[in-house]
Symmetry: C2
């Protein structure tokens, strides 16, 4: 089986990726010293820049990337970076990609504001597109991101997280921005609406698959690979698909008692016990099947496009996600 | 001397204010139950709705308020509400207008996200204006709001807060949205650019005066009037004009030692001592003079408009701010 590193996906859009990097760095600049200091810290962090790559590849699939493509790539990354900073506050997470998170270095106060600032910068950059179709899309997605996280918190505390709500949640909080990145890439080169819709579907399925893979990591990854503690979701009262599958097969009272335990905070031996439940109940296997199913949907979404190097790259991305270990 | 209550300012735009209330309530709706629950809580709180009133009055001063005026009034209030929710997290403030703040009821996690959600809703509403002039203005202001707060935190911790930086800070974090509210009101009725600029200046000066008045409260107000503890800014390491004036007259080492004390957290007797310093050093008197000066500038900003009921209302607002006790 072919394995890919992130470099593989940059190859067809190397020049555009360089322009993106410059644009992104420039869009973080401010005349306030502390903002620049945090911006430098963010720029120094290793990041795969998945969403900008999706913008660039999608644009290239539909036409010739241009300045609007570069601005779009930068603004989706600004939006993503803003949500990451706020996510780390919400999850009380003090590491990100193996290094101290912004809230660990500058505390929550500055981090709340820095997220807000990046969000505003993203908005300012959106407006440079002078394209209401793209703006309407992006504003809806920015609503999705926060409402998805709120939905997750609400359903985690009212016992309402089930498989249907799980898929709704990962659509809102993760896949919507993948879908939006692909579609706005198509918009930037005035792609046909059939193409934009196909890329939207592709991004949606890829994004769902991406989040499912991330949720699997909480049960099966190595801590040194993903740069954050294993079992963190579980400890943070976040019930994801591997556990949901097992809970839904249990009788109601047993499932309720486990949900209650998670909500009240787990001891290490209880985390261990849940891990065993998931193993014996087939929670990981079920989740891997779902991942495969959605990944196949992502492949089918691209059927309208003729074969090309760029299309192959987008197809490879689906495999890359299935294989990644961090 | 005339005294005013907030009703006075609603009178010329009563019908529009009713439309604003409906629009604002509708724009908070979501299909996620927890969001609606928090939205209802926010709508139940007493609020003067100063910024929407400024939008409506400014529009009426330049023409006939219309649907764009109502949407503008709603979106500036959304933006303001988002920043209030985040401000309460940043200030560790558990009351707002005398009732528990959103972060006190739902904790910081939900509050960070609810602020983000409202911010996104504000953006979605901006786009309904289909007016790039207004959008560019509003995106710049939303950047100002967070960068002003970051600037305040930075200058409070690096001894860099001086009078010049204080005025820059209150422009960014408060007055920019007042100025923007007035200008976007003018834009909504396609007011002449001379009128829009005059209203911008008016809003800017009124907003600065408003923040100066708020900062005075930390030293002179009654706790039961303002619905939050006195001396809170000081305890939160926020150095505002009354204290700055006194610090700038001291010799450098004495001033440095007071700043250090504030940064490290003050005991009640130290707060008392600083209050005495401000009283003997004329900090409150100096700040009141500045307030008067800027209020007069706000009056002059409106000189281009012929006399009218609406203009008088905007002039009365300046007096209202000078007189208010909460």
């Amino acid at each position: 089986m072919m394995t890919f590193d992130i470099e593989h996906f940059i190859r067809p859009v190397r020049k555009e990726m360089e322009l993106f990097r410059k644009e992104f760095a420039a869009s973080l600049r401010s005349d306030i010293a502390l903002i620049n200091e945090i911006a430098d810290y963010i720029l120094d962090q290793k990041s795969k820049r998945i969403r900008p790559i999706l913008v660039l590849l999608s644009a290239k699939l539909c036409g010739q990337p241009n300045q609007a493509t570069i601005v779009s790539a930068s603004l989706v990354e600004l939006l993503h970076t803003a949500t990451l900073i706020h996510d780390d506050i919400i999850d009380d997470s003090f590491t990100r990609r193996g290094v101290p998170s912004v809230n660990a270095v500058w505390k929550n106060k500055v981090s709340v504001l820095m997220g807000d600032y990046l969000f505003s910068r993203s908005l300012t950059n959106m407006l440079r597109l002078r394209n209401y179709k793209a703006l309407d899309l992006l504003s809806k997605i920015s609503e999705s991101l926060s409402s998805g996280e709120i939905f997750q918190l609400a359903k985690s505390s009212d016992n309402g997280m089930d498989e249907e709500n799980y898929f709704r949640m990962i659509w809102l909080k993760t896949a919507s921005l993948f879908a939006g990145s692909c579609k706005v890439g198509a918009f930037s080169v005035s792609g046909k609406s059939e193409e934009a819709e196909a890329l939207w579907e592709y991004g949606k399925n890829l994004g769902m698959a991406f989040q499912i893979k991330d949720d699997l990591f909480d049960y099966i990854a190595k801590e040194e690979d993903i740069g954050k503690p294993i079992g963190r979701d579980l400890k943070a009262n976040l019930i994801t698909l591997p556990l949901l599958h097992v809970l839904e097969k249990m009788d109601a009272s047993e499932s309720r008692s486990i949900r209650e335990g998670i909500r009240n905070g787990l001891e290490p031996d209880e985390v261990q016990k849940i891990n065993e439940l998931i193993a014996t109940g087939g929670g990981v296997r079920y989740t891997e099947e779902k991942l495969k199913e959605i990944s196949e949907k992502a492949v089918q979404s691209l059927a309208v496009f003729p074969d090309s190097e760029v299309k192959q790259c987008l197809l490879d991305f689906i495999v890359f996600n299935q294989q990644r270990i961090s």
